[in-house]
Symmetry: C2
Subunit: 309 residues, 2 copies
DNA sequence: CAGAGGAGCGCTCAAATGAGCAGACTGCAA
DNA sequence: TTGCAGTCTGCTCATTTGAGCGCTCCTCTG
């Protein structure tokens, strides 16, 4: 039975042929195969993960008024979803990036996944869009930059400074550091940025871990819905809490808006409002996401006239 | 593509039908399915584990001159093999045991696996063939007895005494304990025994852990190859180190030989010589094993004239 | 702009396959 | 032994499927 199953399903030999080879009737072979499937000896699994749903992608793209959208299937826990979305973003970069571009990268677990799955890229320079955060070296923004630059063969411009500091003066001093300043100067020439999206309500942002309970409550009250490269944005798509920005080593709001191509990578339905907010804010022109988030987005009011395009 | 794959492989709908339903040509459907298989969206796995190889079983049976043999496929690590062999032994008992029999059980990780997979049995009484051993309660002989008796609805006769003690007197005293003595008296009426096989060379026996380095070396020198229910047997199939038996609370050699049906459950090629030894010793009339051990056994000289039967 | 090259599509025809059926065999009881 | 029920086997016939071919459309290049 196993032999027959192997020949039929693995070697793709016809039942007639197998029957001849083994001296059985083709009916016997057919029945053995039926039995093999019904007893679980042969299992057929359909795994859609990582596949792009072109139709859904197009709908999300229209709904949010984006330049492009990629919606992939992803099942499993948060980590599995992040990995799928990250891989899709990596593929997207590999297919669309041109040599000579300047690639700006933020940070986040989705982008870590992306950097891990990055295919060889055309020669581009890579610059870190924010200061560093988080304890784990493997997940730091610097590591993301490093890995992507490795794949592209271009230069890597990391920022060895914390993302958030306690007071504006320290931040300003950091920005004047030669290495940091060099990175900041590159921001105006960034042609493509990839960012992940932090949601503040519901709370799902790595940034939240570095902020005190009091400040968090305050910021929420001011209307922070989403965060991209530590830029805090309200539902209306406006930058809120500019004083918080002053304490960050990061790209500026208008500077970010000016980047021609801004790819957001995010998965999971809870981030829907956050994604809508950053699109409205003009901080995202393309989206890489999973089915769950895509469908949640379609439930929200459209951000562009659906008649367009 | 996923939709098509699901309909075809899961719902067993013909390509023609799918094509009609979705408004595609049947060729398009066929190509989508090809693509689905080549891209890994559809995976077909063949898992032979647990299946009986009747032909190999018959050969082993003849080769060793047994009454019966069951050879199952088993892949994976030692634990997976033990589980498969244990399940096969459990199935065998379920199919062949008659109501009113007395079932004697030894101990071992394979038998623990067997007890865990035991199907409902005809009403039989279960008796422990050896004293208890090992620290883990879940793996103790008493637990094996308990679970099997639970499945059969008959009585369980455990032996609450250590398998090996330091001197013959203690062993003798233990054997006189009323509860222990009651179990020992049942040995003569055991109709079916199930044992696992310990190998001493190569060393692979749980019993070895309870024995001092010195004693182990001594016993190996005397020619111990295998162990069944703490009966030590040489390659020639003879009981060795009878003084060791005196220190054990266990069934006797001749008593064991007298049991009409003795099923050994063991897996893994390294135990081949041990199994051959206990068959030669007349301590095993049926064998449940995996392909690896079966094939290793066939490499050894035959124990019965192959012309017989 | 013309033409080469390649990918995708659907057709024909022959081969492969499944459904249903009738005969053969086995086990069991009378 | 006979008869019965259940299972297994291989048949016929209609349907499904795959191989190979030519067509069309698209893209790239000179």
């Amino acid at each position: 039975m196993v032999l027959v199953a192997r020949r039929y399903y693995v070697d793709d030999i016809s039942k007639v042929q197998i029957a001849q080879d083994l001296g059985l009737s083709r009916f016997k072979v057919a029945r053995l195969l039926e039995q093999a499937r019904s007893t679980g000896v042969v299992t057929i699994t359909i795994d859609a993960d990582g596949l792009v749903d072109a139709e859904l992608s197009a709908r999300v793209c229209r709904h949010l008024g984006l330049d492009a959208a990629v919606v992939v299937e992803a099942s499993g826990d948060e980590n599995a979803v992040r990995r799928q979305v990250g891989e899709a973003a990596a593929r997207l970069l590999g297919e669309t990036l041109h040599a000579g571009e300047v690639l700006g990268l933020a940070w986040g677990r989705t982008l870590t996944a992306m950097s891990a799955a990055m295919p060889p890229l055309p020669r581009v320079d890579v610059v870190q869009l924010t200061g560093a955060i988080g304890g784990d070296v493997e997940e730091s923004p610097v590591e993301i930059i490093r890995r992507v630059a490795l794949r592209s063969g271009g230069s890597a411009r990391p920022i060895f400074a914390p993302l958030v500091v306690d007071d504006p003066r320290t931040a300003q001093a950091l920005r004047r550091q030669p290495d940091v300043a060099a990175a900041l100067r590159m921001f105006d020439s960034v042609t493509t940025a990839v960012v992940s999206v932090g949601s503040w309500d519901p709370p799902n942002s790595q940034l939240l871990r570095t902020i005190s309970e009091d400040e968090r409550a305050h910021l929420l009250q001011v209307g922070v819905r989403a965060e991209v490269a530590s830029l805090l944005v309200s539902d209306e798509g406006e930058l809120v809490a500019p004083d918080f920005q002053d304490r960050c080593v990061t790209i500026g709001f208008e500077q970010m808006r000016a980047i021609p191509r801004k790819i957001a990578a995010a998965g999971g339905a809870p981030k829907a409002r956050a994604v809508a907010a950053i699109v409205r804010a003009g901080l995202c022109t393309e989206l890489v996401t999973d089915r769950a988030l895509a469908e949640a987005l379609l439930q929200l009011p459209a951000l562009a006239s659906t008649t367009a395009s």
